[in-house]
Amino acid sequence: MILLAKAALGLGGTLVIAGAYTMREGVIRVDVDEYRSGGSHVHVWVPAAAVPMAMHFVPREHMRHAVEHAREFMPTARAIVKELKKFPDADLVEVVDGEQHVQIRTHAGKLQIDVEAPSEKVHLLCPLATLDDVSRQLEFNAPGA
């Protein structure tokens, strides 16, 4: 009985620590709502810590393919993410045009992109640290790196 309790405590403790680590890194959140008949409604929450780990399991060939597509923008993306981490929260871009509203901002170490229009609503939230990790891994997998 005591052995069982110890095993349960060990398992529970591991789960709690793993959960705490996963959530400490934050969550990547993607919400897409299209307000039309047959429009898609996508709501995805992914623990940010899982993304760089999951990237290790992506076949190298697929990774290289992705890098080749993104190669042109990689240095710029990396520089933006690296720099944004240094600055306090800010509304970087805000465009309001009638009923359309686009906002790009940093908030609590996350990049937040909101697009609101009568026909659709898109919210994207991603920790800057995750973007940095992902861009670093993509760069690492670039041919000739």
């Binding site: 705490a20 969550v27 990396r78 690296k82 720099e83 800010a90 509304d91 465009v95 309001v96």
Partner: protein, 214 residues
């Protein structure tokens, strides 16, 4: 271990475990807060460390749609990011201008002449439709245009530090060094660079150490 100690130990363990479980939930709730629940700009208004300089652009259109554009960019970020963009005429933070002689005017020579000249009025034109004034004052190049037409009234004011203009033309004959200009700009104090006031829209470009527009 006595029953009393065992109970105390069990309670402490339970509280610690509960705190561990609930902490990430709190962080999650914070993360998941919708955009609308985040504090307003004024609530989040902070002044960055004094070395951080922010370039602000605000365009407000007073037409029926009421279009508004607000951009807040840290100068340091722009300085670091610009050299990474190599597309078309932009390369290594410099932009190529194929013809430095615009309509037979040597821009670089013109800038050199202004830089070495003393403060004063260079162009003053007053007409029925518009007034134009180009001057150099306290190491700033000032351009002032006032349109007075019946159909269209507008006021344009541009005030650029000479150091920024020097840095902009410091690259080569047919290039403008944007990064050098941004670097020179970051050494300036709070300043309003461009102000356009027209009937249908207003444009404002300015520099300060705040990370919010107003």
């Amino acid at each position: 271990m006595s029953n009393c100690h065992r109970g105390f130990f069990a309670k402490t363990t339970f509280i610690a475990a509960a705190a561990l479980v609930l902490t990430p939930l709190g962080a999650l709730a914070q993360t998941a807060a919708p955009a609308s629940s985040t504090p307003s700009s004024s609530e989040r208004a902070t002044t960055s460390a004094s070395k951080d300089r922010w370039l602000h652009v605000r365009v407000i259109s007073s037409d029926a749609k009421g279009e508004t554009v607000r951009v807040n960019v840290p100068l340091e970020l722009a300085e670091k990011v610009l050299p990474t963009i190599n597309k078309n005429r932009l390369h290594n933070g410099k932009v190529r201008i194929d013809c430095a002689h615009v309509d037979d005017v040597d821009l670089k020579a013109l800038v050199d002449a202004i830089r070495t000249a003393k403060d004063g009025e260079y162009v003053t034109a007053q007409g029925n439709d518009s007034d134009v004034r180009v001057a150099k004052e306290n190491n700033h190049l000032i351009v002032h245009v006032l349109e007075k037409g019946k159909s269209r009234k507008s006021q344009v004011e541009i005030k650029v530090p000479m150091r920024v203009i020097d840095a902009l033309f410091s690259a080569g004959k047919d290039e403008l060094d944007l990064v050098a200009a941004l670097h020179a700009l970051s050494a300036q104090g709070d300043t309003e660079l461009v102000s356009v006031k027209a009937e249908d829209n207003t444009v404002r470009v300015w520099l300060d150490s705040k990370n919010v527009t107003d």
